[in-house]
């Protein structure tokens, strides 16, 4: 069953076509990886789906409901969670409070929301840090905070922007495990990822973008052997 259908989605900033005619589908419970070189339009695509940027035209169906042009709070209210590439924790509040604010989407009772939040914090393995202010946490921990906060709204679809970006090598495996744990809970995931090994490992299908256009969409294997992808993305990695 399809949870998300994107058709001919476009958005231009001035003369630059950040996203042009992008179409793809995501199956419920699966992981879609989005890849592409810097400036390919990955984060723009996330902003279009989650309502942070208004699309120019196209169609976005979430659970067969048109969410094109809705505001971010409406879209997240329908069960679309997200994390941010440039992290946005509520810095002057504790980890627990951060996650509680997410939990309030589904739970009005403060104590129940607190307990829900604690379970999610345990899930992301940060229970001992619950009373630390977000600004006191390391980058890796703040990534987990954002994942926990997004999970707290009990999303059906979760968009994660570069979970493993900007953290040191030994932090990465834990974060990858966490994404897998989330998938095992049945959450549909769309993730932007620069590390090609990780994306091959966790994704059921992959969307490859380059200069705002879709250049390939398919299983990891198909993507790995796609000439356009190799030229646009993998090639440049090898060169570097």
């Amino acid at each position: 069953m399809k949870i998300l259908t994107v058709e001919n989605l476009s958005r231009a900033f001035g003369g630059i076509k950040a996203n042009e005619d992008i179409s793809f589908e995501v199956e419920k419970g699966k992981v879609l990886g989005v890849i592409g070189p810097n400036g390919a339009g990955k984060s723009t695509l996330f902003d279009l789906i989650t309502g942070y940027t208004k699309p120019d035209n196209g169609k976005i169906l979430f659970e067969n409901k048109n969410i094109f042009g809705l505001k971010p709070d409406k879209i997240s209210g329908l069960g679309v969670g997200r994390t941010f590439q440039k992290l946005k924790p509520f810095a002057d509040q504790t980890l627990l409070e951060n996650v509680m604010i997410g939990a309030f989407v589904k739970e009005n009772n403060i104590k129940k929301a607190r307990n829900d939040a604690l379970e999610i914090i345990e899930f992301v393995d940060l229970i001992e840090k619950r009373h630390h202010f977000a600004r006191e946490l390391s980058t890796g921990q703040r990534k987990r905070l954002e994942m926990a906060r997004a999970m707290a709204i009990k999303p059906k679809l979760l968009l994660m922007d570069e979970v493993t970006g900007g953290v040191d090598q030994k932090t990465i495996p834990g974060l990858v495990e966490l994404i897998k744990k989330m998938r095992n809970l049945g959450v549909t995931i769309i993730t932007i990822e620069h590390n090609i090994n990780i994306i091959m490992e966790i994704s059921d299908s992959i969307l490859a973008l380059d200069q705002g256009k879709k250049i390939a969409f398919g299983s990891p294997k198909e993507i790995q052997n796609n000439k356009k992808v190799i030229d646009a993305y993998l090639g440049t990695v090898d060169d570097a």
Partner: protein, 336 residues
Amino acid sequence: MNKLDIAKSEPLWNTNKNIIYIISFVLMFLIALPLFGLNSFYLHLFIMIFMHAVMAQSWNVIAGFSGQISLGHGAFFGIGAYSSSFFFVQYGISPWVSIFIGMFFSAIVAVLIGIPMLRLSGHYFAIATLLIGISFQVVFQRWELVGAASGLWVPLTQGDSWSSLQFHSSKAPYYYIFLFFLVISFFAVWLLNRSKIGFRLRAVRDDAQAASSLSISVSNYKIIAFVISAMIMAPMGSLFGQYILIIDPDRMFNIEISIIVLLITVLGGIGNIWGPLIGAAILIPISEYSRIYLGGTGGAVDLIFYGLILMIICIFRPEGLISFVPKDILERKKQR
């Protein structure tokens, strides 16, 4: 017990019991104080402290807890003062009832100016509110129905009257009325802070984009904060009108009101519920004494002094004076 169960068994709030004892003691002291025969100057001083603490708390709700710096908050003070006096003067409605009318009008105005203005952010919002605050004064100076520049004169009652909220023989009843509103307002804000709305307002303050990813309508919550803030401010205008019994635009819509609530809050500690009280308890005596010793010219010297205090606080103690109070008096030790 595993770590999760331990965490779940923790109390929901980390308030230290000490704070409850401190509040009870201070409150009992304040209730008893007039009984020791405080003269009318000191009663006036305390009344001004109570009033300004509530006014500053109103500003704290919009600025400290939801991150919108309003520089025209005096408008809601004036609206409160004018609504209650107007309905008393014109229709003989008891001030006790018209206080609520003032709150209602303030809330309406907060929504009407909030909808377009809260789309502005940061400096633009501050500038816009500054101008709104001034424009209210200009409008009321010319509005004949409410007495234009000469304002409204509340008809005096024969002797003291609780129903008309006028006391001529002693300031003590005003003292208790303002104290009562202080307690109610602070309790309301304390409850707000612990509510779902309070959590969401802090989310909007800290990061609006992240908040909207959690199904929080940023503009709605800003308006909610604006309305709550206005409804705390308005009764102070109403009561102050009953206290001085002359309601004129120069006093009730004075730009100084908008500035002093900011100063008090920043001095005491912005974003902290006790900040406005501490700020008012320190700044108001300074202001009243400087008025006595410097006479009519004191006004301007006041402002220079306020500016100095503000600079010192911003440079050396941006968290305000409340940050000098040891954390463990306010909070229970957390397991970390």
